[in-house]
C-alpha cells in the first residue's frame, strides 16, 4: 500500500479505521470485534464518542483499556470495566435484550446484501481454506440494532456469491430480515480502505456513497465482483485530521 500524500500522509488502512471511528459519533454502545474494529472503537471513544461503552463478547461491558488489546479477551479490558460477567449474560441480557446499538463485524467474503462468510473458502465438508467460523458474529448480526462492516476492498472478498453464509445481512434483500423475524436492523455501512457503502435503498443492496480522497470510481469497481450501485449523491470523504492521526498512532 502506498502512502497518500496530502497535508498529512496516511495509509489507506488508517483512513479506514478513522472512517469507522467517525461513523460511531454519538453512539452509546458498541459491540467490538477482534483486530481493526478494536482499534476503531478505542479511537472513537477518545474522539467523536466520549460516552461510548465498549462491549466485548468475552463478557465485558464498559471496558476502558489502558493499552491496545491484542485479543478481545485481554486482561486490560477487565481492569477498570463497568461490568464483567459470564458470557451467558453478555449474549442473553445485553445482546439479545437489544442493548447493543452498533456492532462492528468483518469477514473473508461479503455479498451485495451484506451477508458475511467467516467459515470456509470452498466446500464446507472439504474446504480449500478453513476460516475461524462464527464466534459470536452470527447472533451479533441478527440482534444488534445496527451493523457496520469493516473490510479491505478486495475482489476476492467482495463476491457475487458467498461460499458459505455465516452471519446474515439483508439476506436476499428488501424486507427479508423482517420476514425472518430478526430483531436487529442489519448492515447499515460498509467501511473499506477505499470507499464507504450504505444500504439506503428499498432493495437493501450495498451502494457506493463516498470515495476516499484520491480514490477513483474505477479503482473501486475493479475490486468488486459485481456491478455496484451508486448513491444519487456520491461524495468524497474528508481526509484524516492531524488530531485523528495523532490519537490513532498515539
Amino acid at each position: 500500500m502506498t502512502e497518500h500524500q496530502g497535508e498529512a500522509s496516511y495509509t489507506p488502512n488508517e483512513m479506514m479505521i478513522i472512517a469507522a471511528a467517525r461513523a460511531l459519533a454519538g453512539t452509546r454502545t458498541v459491540f467490538v470485534g477482534v483486530g481493526q474494529p478494536n482499534v476503531a472503537c478505542n479511537l472513537a471513544r477518545r474522539s467523536v464518542a466520549p460516552d461510548l461503552e465498549l462491549i466485548y463478547e468475552s463478557g465485558v461491558y464498559g471496558a476502558q483499556p489502558q493499552r491496545q488489546p491484542l485479543s478481545i479477551g485481554d486482561p486490560t479490558l477487565i481492569s477498570g470495566a463497568a461490568s464483567v460477567m459470564p458470557m451467558a449474560d453478555l449474549f442473553g441480557l445485553y445482546l439479545q435484550r437489544g442493548l447493543v446499538e452498533v456492532a462492528l463485524l468483518g469477514g473473508a467474503q461479503i455479498d451485495r446484501f451484506g451477508n458475511l462468510n467467516t467459515s470456509v473458502i470452498g466446500n464446507y465438508d472439504a474446504p480449500r481454506t478453513r476460516l475461524p467460523g462464527s464466534g459470536g458474529a452470527c447472533e451479533i448480526a441478527i440482534n444488534a440494532q445496527r451493523v457496520f462492516i469493516i473490510m479491505g476492498l478486495k475482489r476476492r472478498s467482495f463476491v457475487e456469491r458467498l461460499d458459505f453464509v455465516t452471519s446474515p445481512g439483508h439476506l436476499t434483500g428488501g424486507n427479508a430480515r423482517q420476514e425472518f423475524g430478526m430483531p436487529g436492523g442489519g448492515p447499515q455501512l460498509v467501511i473499506t480502505d477505499k470507499a464507504l457503502f450504505d444500504f439506503d435503498n428499498a432493495e437493501r443492496e450495498m451502494q457506493l456513497v463516498s470515495l476516499y480522497p484520491g480514490v477513483t470510481l474505477e479503482a473501486v469497481r475493479a475490486e468488486m465482483g459485481w456491478q455496484v450501485r451508486q448513491a444519487a449523491a456520491l461524495t468524497e470523504s474528508q481526509p484524516p485530521t492531524n488530531e485523528e492521526l495523532r490519537l490513532l498512532r498515539g
Binding site: I78, V84, M87, F91, L95, P127, G133, G135, T166
Partner: protein, 305 residues
C-alpha cells in the same frame, strides 16, 4: 470433609480416559495448558475435544494426535490468525482426520447452560438466515410453542470431563474466580467429572469470607490441583499476563509440521511436569508477565449472630 488435592498427573490418570469428551474451557483467560500438556504426555487417544475457542492448547493437542473430534465455535489464534495444526487436520487429515461439530459462541454457551441445568435444549435468537444449521443438523429452527414465530435451539452438552483453571480453591474444591468468567460455571455443572486447577489453595475460611466469588462448589468437583502458572501462555487475572509474544510466535511454529513436533518434543514430551516447564521458561520470563496492582475495595458482608 474430603481433601481432594492431588497432583496433575494423578488427576489426569484418574479422570481422563481414552475416547472420552473433554472440555478444557476458559475464554482467552484461564486456559489450563498444564492439563492439556499432561494429557498429551499420558498419550490419551480418540478424545472428543470441546472448547468454544480451541486456541493454541487444542492446536497442540490435535497436532499430537490425541483427538478424533472437535466441538467449537471460533477456530482462530485470537488476535493473531489461524490455528494451523487444526487446519492441517481438517483440510488434509494430518496427523489424522478430524471430525468437527461447529456452533456459534452463543450456541455453545447455550449448550453448556442446557447441559448444566439438565434441559433438553436451549432457545436462542441466532442461526436464522445462516448456513450453519445446514452444516450441522443438531442446530434446529423450531416454531415457538407460544406462537412467536421461529426460534433456534441447540442440544445440551455434557462433557465427560471439564477442566477449569481459576485463581483459588479450598481443598474441597470450592472455587473462586474473577476476571473473564466465560463459561467456567456452566461447563463445570454440565460435566460428569470436574478437575479444578488453581494458582493457590486457600483455607476454607478465605472462601467463606467472600461467597459471592465462589463460582463452582466443591460439591461437583472431583479433584483439586495446585499448579501455579498452569495457564501459561494464557493468563490468570491479577496473577500473570497473557504471553502474547508466544501466541505470535506459535503462528510461525505451527505453520510447519516438523517445527510443531519439534516444539512439542521439547516443551511437552521433553519435560516431566509443569514445574520443569516453568524452570525451562525461566524466572525472568515469568517475572515479565506479572501485572501491577489494582485491588478492589473490600466489601463487608456483615456479621449476623
Amino acid at each position: 470433609m474430603t481433601d481432594k488435592r492431588v497432583s496433575l498427573q494423578e488427576a489426569i490418570a484418574a479422570y481422563v480416559r481414552d475416547g472420552e469428551s473433554v472440555a478444557i474451557e476458559g475464554f482467552t483467560a484461564f486456559i489450563c495448558f498444564a492439563a492439556g500438556h499432561e494429557i498429551m504426555r499420558q498419550r490419551r487417544r480418540d478424545l472428543t475435544l470441546i472448547r468454544m475457542t480451541p486456541d493454541l492448547i487444542y492446536d497442540q493437542m490435535i497436532a499430537a494426535g490425541v483427538a478424533r473430534k472437535l466441538v467449537f465455535s471460533y477456530l482462530g489464534n485470537p488476535g493473531v490468525g489461524s490455528l494451523h495444526a487444526v487446519n492441517r487436520a481438517i483440510e488434509k487429515g494430518i496427523p489424522a482426520p478430524l471430525e468437527i461439530e461447529e456452533y456459534s459462541h452463543y450456541g455453545m454457551v447455550g449448550r453448556y447452560a442446557a447441559g448444566a441445568a439438565r434441559l433438553p435444549f436451549f432457545p436462542l435468537r441466532s442461526y436464522v438466515g445462516s448456513d450453519m444449521p445446514a452444516a450441522n443438523n443438531r442446530i434446529k429452527l423450531i416454531d415457538s410453542p407460544y406462537g412467536d414465530g421461529n426460534i433456534a435451539v441447540v442440544p445440551p452438552l455434557n462433557p465427560d470431563v471439564a477442566i477449569i483453571h481459576a485463581q483459588r480453591a479450598d481443598q474441597q474444591g470450592n472455587t473462586q474466580l474473577w476476571g473473564l468468567l466465560g463459561v467456567q460455571k456452566e461447563v463445570a455443572f454440565a460435566a460428569s467429572k470436574v478437575i479444578v486447577v488453581v494458582e493457590e489453595i486457600v483455607d476454607e475460611a478465605v472462601i467463606r469470607a467472600d461467597p459471592n466469588r465462589t463460582l463452582i462448589p466443591g460439591l461437583i468437583v472431583n479433584a483439586v490441583v495446585c499448579e501455579p502458572f498452569g495457564a501459561h501462555p494464557s493468563y490468570v487475572q491479577g496473577y500473570y499476563d497473557r504471553d502474547n509474544d508466544f501466541y505470535l510466535k506459535w503462528d510461525g511454529i505451527s505453520r510447519d509440521e516438523a517445527q510443531t513436533h519439534a516444539w512439542l518434543d521439547e516443551w511437552v514430551f521433553g519435560v516431566k511436569d509443569r514445574a520443569e516447564y516453568l524452570r525451562k521458561l525461566g524466572p525472568d520470563a515469568l517475572e515479565r508477565l506479572k501485572p501491577g496492582a489494582a485491588p478492589a475495595s473490600p466489601v463487608d458482608y456483615g456479621a449476623y449472630r
